[in-house]
Symmetry: D3
Subunit: 197 residues, 6 copies
Amino acid sequence: MSIEHKHVAEIFPYDGSQIDASWAFREFGIYGSSIITWVGPVNITPDNLKDFADVGLEIKSNYMINFICEFFDCQPANMRIAYLRQRLLVMIFREILFEKGVETKREGDDIFVDGRKLSISIATASLSSMKIHFALNLEDKGTPDDVDTIGLFDITDEDNNQIFDDGNLVDLVNETVDRFILELETIENDISKTNLL
Amino acid sequence: MSIEHKHVAEIFPYDGSQIDASWAFREFGIYGSSIITWVGPVNITPDNLKDFADVGLEIKSNYMINFICEFFDCQPANMRIAYLRQRLLVMIFREILFEKGVETKREGDDIFVDGRKLSISIATASLSSMKIHFALNLEDKGTPDDVDTIGLFDITDEDNNQIFDDGNLVDLVNETVDRFILELETIENDISKTNLL
Amino acid sequence: MSIEHKHVAEIFPYDGSQIDASWAFREFGIYGSSIITWVGPVNITPDNLKDFADVGLEIKSNYMINFICEFFDCQPANMRIAYLRQRLLVMIFREILFEKGVETKREGDDIFVDGRKLSISIATASLSSMKIHFALNLEDKGTPDDVDTIGLFDITDEDNNQIFDDGNLVDLVNETVDRFILELETIENDISKTNLL
Amino acid sequence: MSIEHKHVAEIFPYDGSQIDASWAFREFGIYGSSIITWVGPVNITPDNLKDFADVGLEIKSNYMINFICEFFDCQPANMRIAYLRQRLLVMIFREILFEKGVETKREGDDIFVDGRKLSISIATASLSSMKIHFALNLEDKGTPDDVDTIGLFDITDEDNNQIFDDGNLVDLVNETVDRFILELETIENDISKTNLL
Amino acid sequence: MSIEHKHVAEIFPYDGSQIDASWAFREFGIYGSSIITWVGPVNITPDNLKDFADVGLEIKSNYMINFICEFFDCQPANMRIAYLRQRLLVMIFREILFEKGVETKREGDDIFVDGRKLSISIATASLSSMKIHFALNLEDKGTPDDVDTIGLFDITDEDNNQIFDDGNLVDLVNETVDRFILELETIENDISKTNLL
Amino acid sequence: MSIEHKHVAEIFPYDGSQIDASWAFREFGIYGSSIITWVGPVNITPDNLKDFADVGLEIKSNYMINFICEFFDCQPANMRIAYLRQRLLVMIFREILFEKGVETKREGDDIFVDGRKLSISIATASLSSMKIHFALNLEDKGTPDDVDTIGLFDITDEDNNQIFDDGNLVDLVNETVDRFILELETIENDISKTNLL
């Protein structure tokens, strides 16, 4: 499977419409499976909410790093695979954080640092593609009042130095996407060398 | 989807075992979807017959160009897709022959030149991969007595000159495989730019 | 698989709504898989566009022969199968043209005669059915200004005689549909006589 | 979907090999989905047992009416559909018995008359086809000692007259198969007139 | 598979919106597969009609017992399974009626008593869930003028005593749901003890 | 989805036959999806090897904790899901090790401690079930000479105290299985509250 990663340098908001099918084709002319990443505020309009449990809630943050994945390799699309890949992405991100000395906790698709919520995520699908939105606060600003949140840039090491900043954010994004794509490719390779029952 | 094409220069027989799952991995260490092509005699042992209609028949020829395709992109494998792709391969090969001035007829997956059988083909599958064998006689030798056959090297143009020979066979193979892979990729691209109902 | 073919004698326009799911049932009371053919102008309203690459373009022609296929045999529907069957239909149509002495070129699902575009096509799907629209200009009229088009009725043989006309168009339609349905049935038959891996 | 029903007049035993894939093609040259019915003794050899719960048990009867169904319409085959269709067949048979005044009980795929076991059944599948074996004792002979069985020919009405006999057995078979095929077709028709969510 | 049954004691109308995906989660916070049952009038608004054959017809009744099933176990959802399970539910309900001495006839998913229509039903699906609506008139009131209907409470035994009433309706609902769930579980169990081909 | 966990107290070897379909039913009478865990030596006979990359290699260890998972919830089985769930299991095990202060590295489905291989794993499938074998060395004994391995009981904390031993191994197994099952259930729940595209 081949997946194109495009990191968009300019800032633009995530309002939930970017999870629509074929957004990467319609916006950037990208064919096939893709991962688009960019920095921008998140404020999901009620019409674009994909998690029925969030109906009536605010899903917002002033400043997030966004990942939008779209997979066309499974025809028809399969929500189990969409959510399994979402978990894989979240867990790979945690593995990277851990290697950089950042301890986190995970509940399903949510990552917490010191009990504060770092990330949001949803998976969904149309008949022909599976989509994942995964986003991490960069700062604890503009998030809902009733949720205790933290940003990547708020995390410090034991010497109280900031670990992530504008200078290394794109490296973190690239490392995450590269490992995620590699993992998916490794799974495909594993399938092709497996003797069935 | 990415498909690796490997043309094997040395001659070896097709006995039907090459259609087994993961043959390309076990024989050449190739991961994922692949198309292996080579020249060699065909003599399918009864145990390896995949077409129940051929049980008790001889499927053989002294000298054929063989295509073995294995696709891992559809999980689980789907026999409709296996046979649709087989038809696509056969029809693309006919398109190429036609562009080179060779008129043929087609019945399902069989190609005929002047009423003589040029090709054999079968598709089959395991749970995780779809396989296609497509082979064309190079000469009308060693084929079953009760079938009127023709080889690619037997075909002549209007000036009675041989069209295909050892010198351009690999080009023909490469052109066929390239167009087949391109067609499959174009289909994947078409899916990714289609609005669903 | 059984597929009902209905050729509608009266002229009516294709505006893109005919590709909606269950149109053949809602319009003609036809159950199951079907192919509806008719002559009429094409002018797809923006809301009905299924190809995101065509957004903002005009898809129109004064006079076309239309094929609308709907397949319910695959549950759930599969976009790979939808596009593979579309290619099969387009390639079978080319085979027939060739047998009638008409040389064409093909790029994906587009057919060209002398470098001029003869046809348009799209495939799409809902969860329960796969749809194909395939249409051929009859005359080079009312097509977009920026596309060099040709109609079936514009094609002449080497003696400059028109090959297709109102008198034999329905025969051409029937032959195309019959062969397409036969090919799909042959594939189903091939599946039922194949030994799996 | 089209399903061919063939009732074989001659008697031959069911040893479990008839449930193998493509048996109807290999034995009778039948393409596609089929239902083969015949009268014969049942004695399943251990190698042919498909129900792991029956390992070590005898599955036998001197004289049964056998139904072997093979469905190729679902690609890939689906064991849920195989067992749902098996239940449909068993329940339709019960409906017919009831209309003829015969009260039965059902536990899963087993039918009982007066607490005595009338039928055996199993469903299984390969990647490309789903198979159902359904068989009813005609007489209570040759069945396992530890199971209390009854045959169709043992069933009497309130006046103690035998309801089923050699004279009307084929009618019963035909009625069962006709209704089963009609039900499956009706389901396909229902799909084609359903608006999705 | 685990399926939660919730019988809602209060009366509320079925207007067709309850067949939408995830209604049980949005209304009652129920995760996963569920069966919701309740008594209420039925009057399906045209927008909510799922049966294209009913377009322009009235689907209504003053007083019905409603079953809404949603299954998330099949990913992606499959309309064949949706309708097979619908038939299973309808046939199990008939089995229960028969055990209580009530003779009925069945045509597809419709149940008739003395030639009068007792029930309505539809199945539909989104990509991730399959839904069934099954409802039975309690009284022959408020049903369309051109359909001869009957209610469960209108059915009497041979002594002219009413069989079903408000006092035992919930028992009937529970028995139906329990057997239906048990049957689906038994099918899953059967799959897990079946040797494949 | 419901998954039964059974920890077998007695020691028995893993020879590769336990990965066969329906082993839990045939061995323990367990219906449906299951996870069987036990301690025992591993020595996979060549016939039972499922990883074609391991052909000719020894896969063995004197003393391992074994997990055999079988999932029947996906019909037909899907190798992508099999391997995604395998990765989930491996990553959840790493999360638990990390919480207990044990740093590891992961490459695909392999876990390493201090560059020494701790685990082996494979996923495979038949048409109706997906199987995962995941096993961890308890001691570095009886493993292949050319692989540097480590056992769970060889791991020590910073004070050089052994972290895992016979006293807490079952707790570790239970915690791993409980979290894995919970994660799979959470994914199912997430599906049922997701709005599709």
